[in-house]
């Protein structure tokens, strides 16, 4: 078993035992979707707005849960333990993988709930929607992980995380909302190539920058 997978499994096992992020994420998603339902009521809300609301829910659930992977290490004092056991990039990619898996699972849960409870939100092109969600999740996970590493040492983590994340995630969010609207409208796959190009480029840039920066962030 590679060290990277070990870091991933450590975080997964720890999360399943402590449920720090999981409970917060589930409650956030359930509560937010419930509020959206009450707010919509019997109104006929356009699918464009519903697409945006979906990604607002996903964005804020990301903010409420994904910083834990680094913040918990700082709060428990286990950062040095990890520093003494393995290379910085092993830690980064192990935690990135964990955040991706966690976020993907939450997004599947969120979207399933959204589709079930909000009947006016229907997907006509599941291929475009699936690829948009997958690439969007990759982008969210990669950006959120490096920002979590940066803010983990700060005093005002809770405030700083969304403040730092929003400008970096804004291009991603605009693109995935656009992709979701194309999926809802039943557009041809060829029309969505631009969306996928932007998302792949975003993930590539953020992951590459993280690869270069993380060793400096990780070490005091």
């Amino acid at each position: 078993m590679t060290p990277l997978i070990t870091v991933f499994l450590k975080d997964l096992r720890s999360e399943l035992r402590t449920r720090y992020a999981l409970n917060a994420l589930i409650m956030f998603v359930v509560t937010t979707i419930s509020i959206v339902l009450f707010a919509i009521g019997n109104e006929n809300v356009s699918v464009e707005i519903l697409s945006g609301v979906l990604w607002i829910i996903i964005f804020f659930s990301t903010m409420s849960g994904l910083s834990r992977t680094f913040v918990s290490e700082e709060e428990r004092g286990t950062v040095m333990t990890l520093q003494l056991m393995t290379r910085p990039l092993t830690v980064y990619f192990g935690k990135l993988l964990f955040n991706f898996v966690l976020l993907f699972a939450m997004n599947v849960f969120t979207i399933a709930l959204y589709l079930i409870l909000i009947s006016t939100f229907t997907i006509k092109s599941y291929l475009i929607f699936t690829l948009t969600v997958f690439l969007g999740t990759c982008g969210l996970a990669s950006a959120s992980t490096i920002i979590a590493a940066i803010i983990a040492k700060a005093n005002t983590k809770g405030t700083l995380y969304p403040v730092l994340s929003f400008p970096i995630l804004l291009p991603l969010l605009l693109t995935v909302i656009n992709g979701t609207q194309l999926a809802v409208d039943g557009a041809a796959v060829s029309e969505s190539f631009g969306v996928f190009q932007v998302l792949i480029a975003y993930v590539t840039v953020i992951t590459t920058v993280s690869y270069l920066l993380f060793p400096f962030i990780w070490r005091e």
């Binding site: 060290p3 286990t78 040095m80 003494l84 070490r219």
Partner: protein
Amino acid sequence: MPAILFQGSNLKKVFNRSTIFSDIHIELKETQSLAITGRNGSGKTTLLKILAGVLSATTGGVEFSLGGSPIDPIERFRFLGFVSPYLQLYDEFTAWENLDLSRRIRAIHAENSRLQSLLERVGLSSRNDNPVRTFSSGMKQRLKYACALLHDPPVLLLDEPTANLDVDGKSMVQAIIKEQRQHGVVIIATNEPDEVTWSGSILNLDSRPQTR
């Protein structure tokens, strides 16, 4: 054990415009040991962290070579064992799981029997399935020794080596240091007069110039 050369050259650390220590030179070879002493706040722990590679020096650097080949700083963790009261383990995992985690993350090829014998050596074999959060501070310190020794490190760095330990624990640490000194390097940061005698040389940070 191949030849070891562990050097800290011209080490200086400044925190918030205060110089904690400066002009520190350390050179240790296999079978050599060093006790770093000084009053509270003199920088013993800081110096040890710099030597371990988890903290950057303001100026100066640490070089480590094994068998004549220099070790890349990013790989230094493979050859260092570190024990300290402020080093934290994963409370939600058992003693065995913590040790197994260390084995897997370090990619050490060690059998379960090796882990079991280490836990016996540190006196935790009867508690290896208990979560670490149920451990006393002394038991946690013992487990840290097991984790530090798992990969047979040529260099052992010990900050307050007998902190939280009972009489048996102190004997255990003394035996570990004695064994390590036979083939490796030991660096201890301590204020305890007994522990200072466990090493072959002393570096007193109080005698170094500081500015506050």
